[in-house]
């Protein structure tokens, strides 16, 4: 089939789904609305499969499908087309978005079955998929920005989906406003890059990128990429703009799986990978990205250890895993970043859906202190969650092991990385193993702490099918990117992902040949760290549940600080938000009331007074008017004649 037709189907199918469900938004039948929405995304998935199959059929260097629909705007030499292109990077993204997206839509039918706003929910979900596809396929930064804003809007709408609850509505607004801060920086980045290259077209910019690295901090590319990265910290929840993501868990759980774990939050990583020829020549930006990524990975993981809400734990885990992706791209391992993005989409979507299944079974209970022993009630959810767990803590040969290990290895080995980054990453990995094991123990294993009034049960088939599929992907998903050192010793298994991405990823400058012994050793260290901390967590939370409490009590100040999320929210409120609100109030009370309002009042009083004077002339006496007309004519005529 024609590529432009396929591309149109890929993009428009979710939009059509959105329009259909959007028009009949009051309809309460979950099966029909969900059927329409799922079919819409499934159609997209099929067309993206066909497109990617075509892409694979092309020769490696020429793999690109570019479709231009119409000219969107033209100002002088600045022309933007509604054009989209699929290359090796966006191919992975569209498969993940539409594939995982279809599964999550399917899961939502079961999860949202009893909700009155179910049709509206599916309409938003479809709109999100549409915008996300625009984001990943757009051929210029501006087209990407349209999708970038669109997914932000959908995220806001879906976080605040149960908006009658004030806290949830506030969480939506927090997400939206925090993202605005990042988006402003993204815009600045676009301005700088446009001023430098004279174009916003991604391929043209990548082609125009210089070959030598830019050493200065104030160079155009360094500044532009830094601004873009700040934009990415907003969308992808990195320090300092990560605060919205944990609150975003107020939305329905499948939304957390789709938007706040698998797709939207990875947009920042994707953007950097797509612009990798620009970022690689700005080593200062790369350093900032790597440091922020590593810090976020550790910082968020440490908060995750202390949380009691099942979704909050997963949310901090997501922030932490996104930190790993940024660490990867920051040290120049763009392929590893994309790889982790993909595997993370599988296992994190799986775990969010699993937590949704648990919450569903527990009648909207999210506190893991009131769970425990759910394994015997929910065998399928437990089994799939188990695969997600081994995947995220990096046990070979599950998906997360390959991607995380490649990131850790590159952060050590790459000339842009350093042993310090590796140490941070390894600590983060150990923490990840700890909090995920803690979550597993408290939710599924150990003694049941379920209140007597609640009778947990396995979720319906509609919800378990996506879990099973994602569970399988979490096991096998990593096998496409088996690192060379392992593949070689297992009998020349190729690193498929690296070969696939190779033509569109710029190599890291001055990369030395890998020492295999070193790689094996670091791999051994990180895996054993993860295993040990997983065992410690198992021991703490299943064998002797009183130990963690004792430890927490012995380091009470630190524990309190961490469990209150390092008081970052309070810090932002104290230093930025409240002063801003108070300042605005003062401006209003003083400047607005005293000057601006006064001036307008004086003007309006003047006009009204003047009108009153003139009004007195309008007596309503007809003959007086006639008289005045007569006198006027006489005067006018006399002037004309006298002249």
């Amino acid at each position: 089939m024609d590529h432009s037709l396929l591309m149109a189907i890929l993009l428009l199918s979710p939009l059509v789904g959105f329009l259909i469900n959007g028009i009949r938004y009051k309809n309460p039948t979950a099966n029909l609305s969900g059927g329409i929405a799922t079919a819409a995304v499934a159609i997209s998935f099929i067309s993206s499969l066909i497109l990617v199959a075509d892409l694979i059929g092309m020769p490696a260097e020429a793999r690109k499908i570019h479709v231009s629909f119409f000219q969107w705007m033209a100002v002088d030499s600045f022309k933007i087309n509604a054009a989209f292109y699929i290359d090796q990077i966006s191919a992975i993204m569209i498969l993940v978005i539409t594939g995982v997206g279809s599964l999550i839509h399917l899961f939502s039918i079961g999860y949202m079955h009893h909700d009155k706003g179910v049709t509206k929910y599916f309409a938003y979900l479809n709109l999100f998929v549409f915008n996300m596809l625009i984001l990943v396929l757009g051929d210029s930064l501006l087209t990407m920005f349209v999708g970038w804003e669109g997914v932000g809007l959908c995220s806001y709408l879906l976080i605040g989906f149960w908006f009658s609850d004030k806290e949830k509505a506030a969480a939506g607004m927090k997400a939206f406003i925090t993202n605005r801060v990042g988006d402003a920086a993204f815009l600045l980045g676009m301005f700088v890059l446009f001023a430098t290259f004279g174009t916003l077209n991604i391929q043209e910019m990548n082609a125009l990128a210089p070959t030598t690295a830019e050493a200065s901090w104030l160079g155009a590319i360094t500044l532009g990429t830094l601004f873009l990265f700040i934009g990415a910290t907003g969308k992808s929840a990195q320090i300092p703009l990560y605060v919205w993501l944990p609150d975003a868990m107020a939305g329905p759980t499948p939304v957390s799986a789709l938007i706040h774990a698998a797709t939207m939050v990875t947009a920042g990583v994707y953007m950097i990978v797509r612009l990798n020829p620009l970022f690689i020549v700005a080593p200062n930006t790369m350093m900032v990205i790597a440091i922020i990524g590593a810090l976020t990975a550790v910082f968020a993981a440490s908060i995750g250890i202390t949380q009691w809400d099942i979704k909050k734990v997963l949310a901090y885990s997501t922030v932490s895993q996104l930190g790993y992706m940024f660490l990867a791209v920051g040290v120049g391992a763009f392929g590893a970043g994309m790889f982790h993005l993909m595997t993370h989409a599988f296992f994190k979507a799986l775990m969010f859906l699993g937590s949704g299944s648990v919450i569903h079974a527990m009648h909207e209970e999210q506190d893991i202190r009131k769970m425990g022993g759910l394994k015997k009630y929910m065998p399928i959810t437990h089994m799939t969650f188990f695969f997600g767990w081994v995947a995220i803590i990096g046990i070979p040969p599950f998906a997360g092991f390959f991607s995380k290990d490649e990131i850790l290895w590159m952060s050590f080995h790459s000339p842009l990385g350093s042993p310090a980054l590796w140490v941070l990453g390894a600590i983060g990995a150990a923490m990840t193993a700890f909090y995920m094991t803690r979550l597993m123990c408290l939710t599924f294993w150990g003694k049941s702490r379920v209140p007597k009034s609640v009778h947990p049960h396995e979720s319906p088939t509609l919800m378990t099918i996506p879990l099973i599929v994602l569970g399988i992907l979490s096991v096998v998903g990593g096998w496409v990117g088996i690192p060379e050192v392992i593949g070689h010793s297992l009998g020349d298994i190729p690193n498929l992902l690296e070969h696939w991405l190779h033509p569109v990823i710029k190599p890291i400058p001055n990369l030395t040949e890998a020492e295999h012994s070193m790689e094996w050793m670091l791999m051994g260290v990180s895996v054993s760290l993860a295993t040990i901390s997983a065992f410690i967590a198992y021991h703490f939370y299943v064998k002797s549940p009183e130990t963690p409490e004792k430890i927490a009590n012995s380091i009470k100040p630190l524990y309190n600080l961490i469990s209150k999320k390092y008081l970052v929210d309070e810090l932002y409120f104290g230093t930025i938000i409240n002063p801003l609100i108070n300042g605005s109030k003062r401006l209003w009370m003083f400047i607005d009331v005293n000057f601006i309002d006064k001036i307008t009042y004086v003007i309006s009083d003047l006009v009204r007074g003047g009108g009153g004077v003139v009004r007195a002339l309008q007596t309503g006496n007809l003959q007086q008017y006639a008289m005045l007309i007569g006198i006027g004519i006489v005067i006018a005529l006399s002037i004309i004649i006298m002249r």
Binding site: Q618, T619, G620, N621, L622, Q623, A626, M627, G630
Partner: protein
């Protein structure tokens, strides 16, 4: 002006003087009378005074434009009379009198 004897021969000036007299009479009526009907009649008088000078000039200057203008004035006069009388009838219905002072009630 043509050199004609003012007392023996009727010329343009006679028409203009008649026109002016009629106009002033009409205007006086409009300004002084309190009865709406009389005022409307006075307005007709003023319009027709103007018509006389139009026709007179038209004849004197050998130009039909003035006469065509008269038709327009007559049309306007008819329309104006219709509207004016309608208002007068309404006023009468309401106040049982057609004094101009009641028009003051129309004041906003």
């Amino acid at each position: 002006m043509q050199s004609t004897n003012f007392l023996t021969e009727v010329g343009l000036n006679h028409y203009l003087i008649l026109s002016a007299l009629l106009f002033v009479t009409g205007m006086t009526g409009v300004l002084l009378k309190r009865n709406i009907i009389v005022m409307l009649m006075s307005i007709e008088l003023m319009l027709n005074a103007v018509n006389i000078s139009f026709v007179a000039f038209s004849k004197y200057l050998n130009n039909v434009d003035g006469q065509i203008m008269v038709f327009f004035v007559m049309t306007i006069a008819a329309a104006e009379a219709a509207v004016g009388l309608a208002i007068a009838v309404t006023i009468f219905k309401r106040f049982k009198e057609i004094n101009i002072k009641f028009f003051e009630h129309l004041r906003g």
